[in-house]
């Protein structure tokens, strides 16, 4: 076969010398071409190796400080103009949470400054610390400090430490990222502002096309609606689930349901209307249903976007109410079923500018209070628990020159206090320094 070819070639060479020469040249050219290609490839490989080396070299730590975690600080300040004295703030019809739920002081005031530090601990864990520095007494509070797993698979993740509980939607978002200056009334009345727990959270994300997660939190019962108890078991239990997805390229949604349960012992509150301290011992259950819908044309939120958000809370408490434990110390049954909701819409009508409106409503219902039913006490002895439906209208306009700064003007008409509606005006700035944070949906 080869012989034949060679014979043919030789014959051809003899008969057509020019052609044969041409053939050798072509062969030479082919060989040269191949060689050039090989060299080219070697150069390419060397180049690739060099870029890789360069990339690695440039990201190689130069000193110990190269492992410094991401650090960020949030600064915020507000000017408040309030018709009612914020010290008299209360939500009529609801057990005071003893949390920070009052509006900021009148006039100029510095809000809480936040310091955040986060980094991967190692290949298994990530750690986050967020401390808030209170401007009044210069105390530093641990807002969040937790570790979370990185390397678990099959959709599982575990979080441990102090963090915002997965109760409803807005509770899990830091105040600086809220769309309004203050919290919805449901959070003020049912969570004492914002609920954080010393807890362990296990969450599982389902392997589905749409988003589905389920999770649970076992906590210490750090704050209202729990009361710190000295026990080895969990002071609070929360279970939650969220589903979400997209509707075309422009709409994204998420809805969640959570159930939180705790059994506080001697959970004390001061009645702001008569100054008497009372306490509750029993069981507290809280359901939270939340929904968020975000719209942006083609999913591009830079020019226009719209966000609709709402939550519904329902709480049932069943146990004993002790009137004035330090003095009269009268105890009898207490049972309540209370609820509340809010809905808010925020529209970015041009780059950097947004306006929004929020409506809040709570329903105290009529609690069954044994001490009143038996005639031992008169309703005037427990004035804050008298039936009431607090409401609030809020409107805001904000301007965000960049991702890192925001100036907001907000007006509210607040009917939290029975018979004393409050007109509230806030002018607020919120800025973030340092590491670029990522925000939850």
């Amino acid at each position: 076969m080869f012989q034949k070819k060679w014979c043919a070639a030789a014959l051809a060479a003899a008969v057509f010398p020019a052609y044969a020469q041409d053939a050798t040249t072509r062969e030479e050219v082919r060989q040269l071409k191949q060689r050039v290609e090989e060299l080219d490839k070697r150069v390419q490989d060397a180049e690739n190796a060099a870029t890789q080396a360069q990339a690695q070299a440039s990201s190689r730590p130069q000193s110990e400080s190269a492992f410094n975690p991401a650090v960020s600080a949030i600064l915020n300040g507000v000017y408040s103009n309030l018709k009612q004295d914020p010290n008299s703030f209360r939500i009529n019809g609801f057990v005071p949470t003893m949390g920070e739920v009052a509006p900021p002081p009148r006039g100029f005031s510095l809000g809480e400054s936040e310091l955040g530090i986060s980094a991967n601990v190692d290949h298994l864990f990530r750690g986050t610390l967020i401390a808030s520095i209170s401007p009044d007494d210069s105390s530093v509070d641990v807002e969040e400090a937790y570790i979370q797993t990185l390397a678990l698979s099959h959709g599982f993740s575990v979080k441990a430490g102090r963090f915002f509980s997965a109760v409803g939607y807005q509770n899990q978002i830091h105040a600086h990222a809220w769309d309004f200056t203050d919290a919805p009334l449901v959070m003020k009345a049912f969570l004492g502002g914002q609920l954080h727990e010393d807890a362990v959270q296990v969450k599982w994300v389902a392997p589905t096309e749409f988003y589905l997660d389920v999770g649970t939190e076992l906590g210490r019962g750090l704050q209202f609606p729990a009361a710190p108890a000295s026990k080895n078991g969990a002071g609070s239990v929360n279970v939650f689930t969220n589903i979400g997805g997209d509707i075309g390229p422009s709409l994204a949604w998420q809805t969640g349901l959570s159930y939180y349960q705790t059994s506080p012992t001697d959970r004390a509150y001061d009645d702001p209307l008569n100054g008497i301290t009372n306490s509750f011992t029993g069981r507290s259950k809280l359901w939270a249903l939340s929904g968020v819908l975000k719209w942006a044309p083609n999913g591009n939120n830079t020019v226009n976007n719209f966000k609709l958000q709402g939550e519904y809370f329902k709480r049932k408490e069943d146990g004993d109410l002790t009137f004035d434990p330090a003095g009269a110390a009268l105890t009898d049954g207490y049972k309540s079923s209370q609820s509340g909701w809010y809905a808010q819409a925020v529209y970015q009508f041009m780059p950097q500018w947004r306006f929004g409106y929020r409506y809040d409503e709570l329903s105290s219902g009529t609690p069954t209070i044994g001490l009143l039913d038996s005639g031992t006490l008169a309703p005037a002895d427990l004035p804050i628990l008298a039936e009431y439906k607090p409401k609030r209208h809020t409107a805001m306009l904000d301007w965000s020159p960049s991702e890192f700064s925001r100036v907001r003007l907000q007006f509210a008409r607040d009917y939290s206090r029975m018979g004393e509606p409050d007109n509230q005006m806030f002018l607020q700035y919120v800025v973030s320094l340092g590491a670029h944070g990522a925000h939850k949906f």
Binding site: H123, L150, G155, A206, Y211, K294, A296, N300, T302, E403
Partner: protein
Amino acid sequence: MKWLIALFTIVFSTATPAAVNVFACEPEWAALAQELGGDKVSTVSATTAFQDPHHIEARPSLIARIRSADLVVCSGSELEVGWLPLLLQQSGNGRIQPGSPGYLEASQFVVKLEVPRVLDRSMGDVHPGGNPHIQTDPHNIAKVAAMMAERLAQLDGANAATYRSRAEAFDKRWKEAIARWEQQAAKLKGTPLVEHHKDFTYLINWLGLREVGDLEPKPGIPPTTSHLAELVQQMKQAPAKMIVYSSYNDPKAAQFLSQRTGIPSVMLPFTVGGSDRAKDLFGYFDDVIARLLAPLQ
């Protein structure tokens, strides 16, 4: 107990991938994975050419997708810093965390431009690692392709030979295409242009274009009227040949400057999918070059 087993069977059988699941942050990397993997990969892109990759919501649907990903490919250089870390943390997927073979940051393998010497937020939204929009230079695509093929081969050893041979074939076609594009675009060399955002730095560098202004006063800060007025003055003295903006930019500023100065405005697809012709990587550069040449005709 039976229902529990049934549930687990459903859950984990759907979790078993038929192909390598590639989650691309941007469409160009999904398109590249498709070129290299063919039917051995299933790709999804978190964003489109009509979205600003700096500002993406960490949507539930994205968490659902990244949860089952085997390989995450992103531009990196802090482009996705506002949303990707959150997706990774929420995914419950240990295979795609930074540092693992399932995480590929494309910009690590190219020489980056506009690496800032000084970092300060007063300079706008600058990226410490350099300009992240590396996809507009086809030479960068070639470099990333080589790395991505190796990564696919590593993750899916059974099909390693397929990825390598497809990568070789792609590289050959790509180099031919680059030669064609460079020839077509030769007359663009030195052409002065105004850009909306620094989206096309690598394209400008590749083709030897000359950027003489930005519509954004500072990177990431939307155009202001005062800045546009300055540009109008500047264009009167030294006119550019065109004003380019990308498929995700608001065209208003470019159109405004175009009307005031008579300089044509040109929409360039930001990436694959940004125009009818930009259906894949080849079509993307075909279209970009055709659109750049159009005002010179």
